[in-house]
Amino acid sequence: MTAETSPAIEPPAGRGRDIAAKPRWRRFLTGEDGIQKVVFYIPLVFMTLFFALPVALTLVWSVFERTRFWMEPGFTLFAYETFFTSARAENFLHAMMHSAGAVVISFVLGFPIAVFVRRRVPEIAQHRVILLFILPFMISELIRIFALRPVLSRHGLLNSFLMDIGVISEPISAILFTPLGVVIGEVLSFLPFMVFSGFLAMEAVQKYVFEVCDDLGAGTVSTFKDIIVPLAAPGIFAGSVFIFVNGLGVGLIPNILGGPGATNAGSIVFESIVALDFPLAMAVSAIMIVTLMALLYIGHRLFDLTRILEPIS
């Protein structure tokens, strides 16, 4: 059968006929294989150009040679040498320990809330209860850290409260401007994230799992250790990595709460930029990025982090 002899097939009313009649440029603007298809790639292109590329290039810039006000292409490990042979490396390790402490405290304080909401709160109200934690999370991190100064200081809210209830007779002055102040700042800044990611992971756990545990007579500890933690492991891990990396990288926390000399990776990077030592700033950034990528890769291999997104996929 040839095209001449075949009966003309009438396109359905609407888009088929419209598109066939349109010139090519209009088809590009309105057709589904034209600009509409291109639009879908905008986020991908934007994130690649302005996130993936700059982050990957920190590795390259970290080996450039420092000039007086900038840097020039070359290969030197001087920035890494400067970092590892100075007090910065020791400060970095201390910041890592503080951050790890904040992770543990956030898990102990925050994860039971995620479990409680998933297990005990009626399903219809669960998201509303979790929304309670959106409020502190949405108030500026800067303000939440800044607001801790009057709370933790010698004449602040915490000391007044402890003295009023008779726990202490003299105000404690070793909270603000100490590592303890930094850890408190990290916990109060990032705790909601442990609740969110823990709850998101718990959403994938069906409620009958808890009923089965009850029916089989499993104790609270064994249910938590053998059932809840393994099932919620991706969420716990994602929350922990977020807190660890941000505790290590948000320079404002030690700047505002840690007192003189307190530092972490973020403040080292910021100070290096101010001192126009760009290769050093990029070297510390590269160390942070590699640490983050390694942690996420290990977590993904161990726990399959995509499981967290199952409820919204």
Binding site: R15, L57, S140, L142, P150, L157, A265, S267, I273, L296
Partner: protein, 295 residues
Amino acid sequence: MMDTYANPWAYRAQWAYLLIIVGALMAPVFYTIYISFNEHGFGAQIYDFTWDWYVVLFRNQQIIDSLSWTAYLGAATILTAVPMGLIAAKYYKRTRHKVVFVTLMLSPLFVPADILGSALLVYFKNLNRAFEWLGDSLGVTWFYGWFELGFFTALVGLILWTVPYAFVVILITMSRYRVQQTEAARSCGATAWQAFWQIEFPQIRVGVFSASAFVFILSFNEYTRTSLLKGGFDTFTTVLISHMFNTGMSGDSYAMGGLVSVISMAVIGAVLVYTLAKAERLEREARAKAEPVAA
């Protein structure tokens, strides 16, 4: 194993614990607001209520200018990050490479502000130099200053910070949408745009609205990325920090902190009330339309 009905006190204790944690997270913010209304500032033995610190704030031209810049940046971030989050959510639904795409979209949440801000600063400086070199090679000045630190670079930093939130919020709303409705609309002759705009968008409007509010709050509150990428102008948070480090914690610093917190709480409170009321109404409608269960 705890039984809610057999042991109601343990259940109540768990609720009390949850509320204590929320209270502990919010207490410093409310305490700052409380101090901001004390005429004598922090640490005074007496408390006299006053609006004066806020009056001082709004008479300061630098603060007014910084609030304007913050509002411009917030509006520009909403206009760019929310559509991008929406497109990303649509792309996520149709792509086969979900893991790679979602990793790329959510990674900016995990990279601390100082690290990403510094990487972008160096990136923009390099791009600027590269474009200047290109302009010089071609003998034109048109390429000069494209990536000079300023509004555009600060906006890019804010988009990177806010787009993961917009993406997740819209994706959550989209997960309740049934794609069969789009298929039905297409079968009836609707174009892809008509099917999206007239069928899908009305059902995900709440998510887009919430994402806009979150994006605004996040951009309003952001400090580190903006301070690294903003160039010559100041935003409210950069003024607050320079004020705090240069002149110490005065009464107007607390008023600035109080103002940021009140605006954030008002916006987020309005969003929560609106979305919950909307969800309630949709639920009632769904119940009313539902078929009765056969006996």
